[in-house]
Every structure is written in structure tokens, then in C-alpha cells.
Subunit: 256 residues, 2 copies
Amino acid sequence: MKRSRPLKRKLKRSEPKRPEPDAVDPRSIDDDPVVQGILTAISQKRLKPGAKLGEDKLAAAFGTTRIHIRQALAHLAARKVVMQIPNRGAFVYRPSWEEALDIFAARRLIETATVAAAIDRLDKAGRAELKAHMELEARHDRNDRWASLSLTADFHILVAKLAGNQVLLDMSRELMLRTSLAIATFEQPGEPDCSPDAHPDIGALILARDKAGAVHAMRHHIEEMEQRIRPTEGEDEVDELTAIFQEIGARARAGG
Amino acid sequence: MKRSRPLKRKLKRSEPKRPEPDAVDPRSIDDDPVVQGILTAISQKRLKPGAKLGEDKLAAAFGTTRIHIRQALAHLAARKVVMQIPNRGAFVYRPSWEEALDIFAARRLIETATVAAAIDRLDKAGRAELKAHMELEARHDRNDRWASLSLTADFHILVAKLAGNQVLLDMSRELMLRTSLAIATFEQPGEPDCSPDAHPDIGALILARDKAGAVHAMRHHIEEMEQRIRPTEGEDEVDELTAIFQEIGARARAGG
DNA sequence: GCGCCAAAAATTGGCGCCAATTTATTGTCT
DNA sequence: AGACAATAAATTGGCGCCAATTTTTGGCGC
């Protein structure tokens, strides 16, 4: 095909063979309005696990086309936020009970280590940011459920940010989202997401550089969250029955 | 067709309003041949960071259509394995230097905690699995570079599996893939991926239930890997050329 | 009335085509 | 000769259409 020019020093005109992906347009599909919309709707619990995400509906709702929606859904399916079933469509992901437990266990493992790392590298700017958030959380409007949810998630995000690791931060974001799916799936109705003073306590311990204390408080906080979910007791008999029957029906129809 | 049993409980006929996504076809796009193919090609370092992934080429290579490829690429882009740039196409993800460091730091943090958890819940079956893998690794063919790569990755995967947390396991898989991208991007040529006896050492410490020792060995092992990369000093020319040739090779292999 | 079978409506899956943009090649000027 | 500019080729992006499957609706027999 082409020539492989002996290298002189610089790369001349026949060089643009390599596209240099780093150097350009870092814009990804992450900030797609559809993806962001579904994500915030889920984290605000306005979309419940198992909810159908029809392509036409979404296209109409976001004022875009079906192709765009499908890309967004594929993206979200890769992040385990939605579940795609062939010929059935996309649904808000509903973790199994075991998966929910695993999510909490993973958070326990990761966030305890994260908070320790955050204390290690805590600097003036981090202190200020943490204080600012704690103050914000202290006097937020507890009646605004959606704002509350955002704030409580933001605290954990902030701790992950203080650890100074973008990869870890992204993983924590992911886990937080899946946590909210787990809670939405298995929570007892009517309880708040977090005990009100857990975050101030942890924040104070971080500011005091009390590593052992902060780690312990974080673990306790996550365990407390975990205590709030139950494996669909009581009324899920019906739920399980419907699932079983529907599965039998689907199998019979499909397998013939 | 054999039909379903008579169900007497609830569930009248106008009830199936809710589709129950849990109960059906857990088959996801994860085991799509295109996704798996690109993934293994990357983990075997046959696809190098920055390589162009043209839709037509891939469609021809996998014997499928462009639409299918686009879904697979969207999936991989969400997992940060490929990078999609509008109107330019998809490329094998090339982490920045900072991101590479973050990946190693995240692995240090997560895998040390993982190995501790693995020791805590180590049982007979886990022991056997670990021993089997160590034996396999002990007498593998070191000339088969691809098999070697698979084996070394499998050790870390196995440790994550022993921890008994599917979510953590998936995250570790993800991190391992991104590690191989980081190494492929910034490695010095000609060095092996792992020091040969790191894995046996760690395995022995796990079997001995020496938690502190295993954690330390794991941290050291990851730090050793991290030491092997350098921030593209000076030899950009060479790097560019290799990239060019690799891309030409990939093109030849894919399109013919 | 209840549950099963058949037809209809709605939804997803997939392909081809064409426009928009980028990339490679060629020509021209300094 | 080297660099810039215009043209040509290749690639991605997007829309419409139609087939395949599923979900709903209606009808029949017990």
C-alpha cells in the first residue's frame, strides 16, 4: 500500500495516518441528554426498577429519534443501569437480592479504603469543600425529597473525589447508582435513605484525620443502609408467582 | 403445546401489566461474539491502544452487519474499552498517564481488600481451585505469549472470585482490562507482564491464611507492575511509528 | 365464569440508502 | 522542493421502511 518513509526527524505530509484520538473532542456519550436524563430520573427514584423503557416513548419524551435512544440504552445496559432483553425491550435494572448484597459489600470494601485514602491526602482545598458540603447538608430542605437524595449521594461522591482518583470516583458513582436501584427494589416503604447524622459524623472524623474512626463510621453507615432492605417478604409471594407463571408462559410459547 | 398449570391464586387475566424482566432470558450483550472478540483481542494485546476500529472492517471480519457493530462499540465505549469520537469513529481506548496511575492505584486499593476477603471466606473448594490454578501456571508454556497473558490475568480473576462477590468480580475484570490497556500504552518494550514468582507467592500466602502477608504481597505485586510503565519520554517518534505499523497490520488482518 | 386458543396491535430488530464529515490524494503556487 | 488549497474517496451518522417477535385484545369451549 503506502510507503513507510524512513524516519528523519519529523513527520511529514504523509503522516496523518494516525488519528490521535487523545488530542480531540473528549466529548463522550456520557453527557448525552438522554443518558443523563434517565440517570438522574433513576437516582431520584422517579424511575423504579423494572419500569419499561420503550424506545418510542423515550424518543418522544426527549424529542429525538429512536436510533439515538437505542445508543443511549446500549450504553446504560453496559453500565448495568438498564436491562435489555431481546425482542422485549429495555427495563430499569432490578438487581437480585444476592446482587444487592454484593453491591453493599463492595461499597463497604471500597468506600472504607477510599475514606482512608481521602484522609491521607486531605489538603486545605479538600477541607474547605468538605466543610461546605456539610454545611449545605445541615440546612437543606428535608421536605424536598429529590434534593435530599441528591445531597446524600453527593456526600459519598465527595469523599471519593477527595481520594484523588478519577477511576475510583467513577466506580463509586457507578456503585452509588446501583445502590439506589438496590434500595428502590428491596426497601421497606416509608423509611429515609440515610440516618440523618451519619454524614456529619463521618465528615467530622475526616476533618479530624481520625482514620480508624472514619473507616469504622463509614462501614457502620453502609451497614445501616444495608439493614434497611429485606428480601421481599410477604407480598412478594404474589410477585414471585406472577414471575413464575409468566416465565412458564414465555417458555411454552417460545419453545413450543 | 403444553400449556401452563391452572393457577388458582390471584392474577386475573387483565393483570399482566408488569412484564417482570427478572424472570426471563438473562442473556445480555456481554456474550456477544463481537464484544468478546474485541475484548480478548485487547487482553491478548493483539489490538493496541489507539488502533482504529472501523465499522465496515469489523463487520466484514465478524461476518455481520454494521448495526450490530455499532451496538457492540457503544457497549465497549461505555466500559471505557474503546473511545468513540463523533464523526471520526471508534478506537481502542488509550488511557492518559494520569488515568493509568489511577488504574493501578484503584487496583492496589481494591485487590488488597479483595485478597483479605478471599482469605476470610476461603473454603475447601476455593483451596482446590487455587491450587489447581497455581499448578497450571507453574507448568504453562512460557513461549506461548497469549496463553501466558490469559493465565496471569486469570490468577487475579480467581482471587476476586474467591472473595465471593460477583459485583466486585466484575469490577476487577474491568480494572484488569484497563490495566492491560495502560501497560500496552506505556510499557517499555520487551519486558514481561508480571514477575514470574509473584503469583505463586501470593497463592501460597492465601493458602496459609496469612492475611497480612498476602495483602502485602499483592500490593507489592501491583506496585511492581506499575513500576514497569513510563510516561512516554522522548521516544514519541518510535511510538508513533509502531502505532502506524500496528494499525496497518490490523487493517490488513481485518480487511484483507 | 374461567381458562385456553386465535387474530390484531404495538414494539423491537435489522437492513439499505443517502447526507454530512472526515481523511487521503492530487494539483498549484511560492 | 515544500506547503497550502481544492478535489476525490472513504467513513460515519441518521432516517425510513419492513420483517419478526411480543403483548394485547377478542372469541370459543368447558
